[in-house]
Symmetry: D2
Subunit: 132 residues, 4 copies
């Protein structure tokens, strides 16, 4: 499991007094950076061979300004040219949000998806979540 | 169907040269404003009795800076205390993203969901998408 | 004078119940799009020969969700390779924020600033604010 | 001097391939959190007695995705009811941006500024930058 910690920022709150929901989708993108690094260790955007096909976020509890949030990231399954990421946001020991993202292995030059090469598949497979 | 037009902003692009995916989740929030106004015509955040329980976004095509985007918003179904919103983003005559959002009728004072009052249910029911 | 209208978005509010200050800096970037179009009519980011050297924003009054904001943009002066933009945000007939931005004519290929070509200088000079 | 580290996020890049300038203004807000904590240790937004009157940012060098940024924050001077914050963003050992912010001690209930109480003035005075 990959783990990233984010500190909520004041401008990420909204008029309800908590962190705005959309911000959490952005934090989950940030949580996927550990996966981006599997493909592009220096995170040079020009070399990152991934696009995002779909996101889902379930908002479980309010997230507060002033207290760190842990983003946990695992893989759910690996497909031929895509893979599914599952994520959770935890604050003060409680689950606050759950997410799922479908990333596609993508050739930006030809603008087409391609089969996930074995070298990446092997690394990613080590991060697939165990069935409960 | 509700329709809102947004002009992509330069800071909404990312290093891939297009609009960042997460931004689209924010635009869909903006598209739901017409639904917020059903409950709170002046959009005073202190009076808005809704929270967001879930979002889904499918990214269908790249969205470009320099060209307007239409956000189309309808209701999919009305539940007891929640309702499901379906949304689309269109640019240059093509579908670019599809979204779904679950909004809950919520009492911020008691911090609990409540059954959707009939006065709102009636208005919302006029915006439920026809089955194809 | 260039004029652009923005509708505040819910995720742009913060826990004080109004629009977050930093958002206004982003709206001013959006207001400068009319100037970007002088250089790059189709707004293709790869061709936009400008970088931002400095911004200033004075926050005059709170900006509310639920009511449109007009961004007014003029030029203050033209330098050799840069120019100064002055901007205002108006809501409900009152000035809410004032901004200044220094943009530099920039060659992204050589990563250096260059003298502002006459063809652009002429167009821009028509938008320099008159002294009061 | 206060110091905060931020990791640039992918959605904070723009089509020029670097971190968008406006984002830096947001990071500087985040850098001022250590000052917010002087007034409101738990960062409860409802109790934070500050508003922002002005910001300035000078963009000195491009900021890259994939490499941490240190935000350094000091006070420049203390006024009667306001104070001036000076900030710097450093990446890879080089200064990337400089900022200045004017914060006002503010009573949200009466919506007026008030003289800075001595208890806060004393703490803040320990963080005023020494003249070079």
């Amino acid at each position: 499991m990959f783990s990233t910690t984010v500190s909520p920022r004041f401008y990420e709150t909204d008029a309800f007094g908590h962190i705005n929901n959309i911000v959490v989708a952005g934090w989950f993108e940030t949580g996927r950076e550990d996966i981006f690094r599997v493909f592009t260790p220096d995170l040079d955007p020009k070399k990152l061979p991934l696009i995002l096909a779909r996101i889902e976020v379930d908002f479980v509890a309010q997230i507060y300004y002033g207290c760190k949030v842990e983003i946990r990231t695992q893989l759910e399954k690996l497909g031929n040219s895509s893979f599914v990421v599952i994520q959770e946001a935890w604050q003060k020991g409680a689950l606050a949000a759950r997410g799922r993202a479908v990333q596609v292995y993508f050739n930006h030059a030809t603008q087409t998806s391609e089969p996930l090469p074995d070298e990446y598949r092997e690394v990613l497979s080590q991060h697939v979540a165990k069935a409960d």
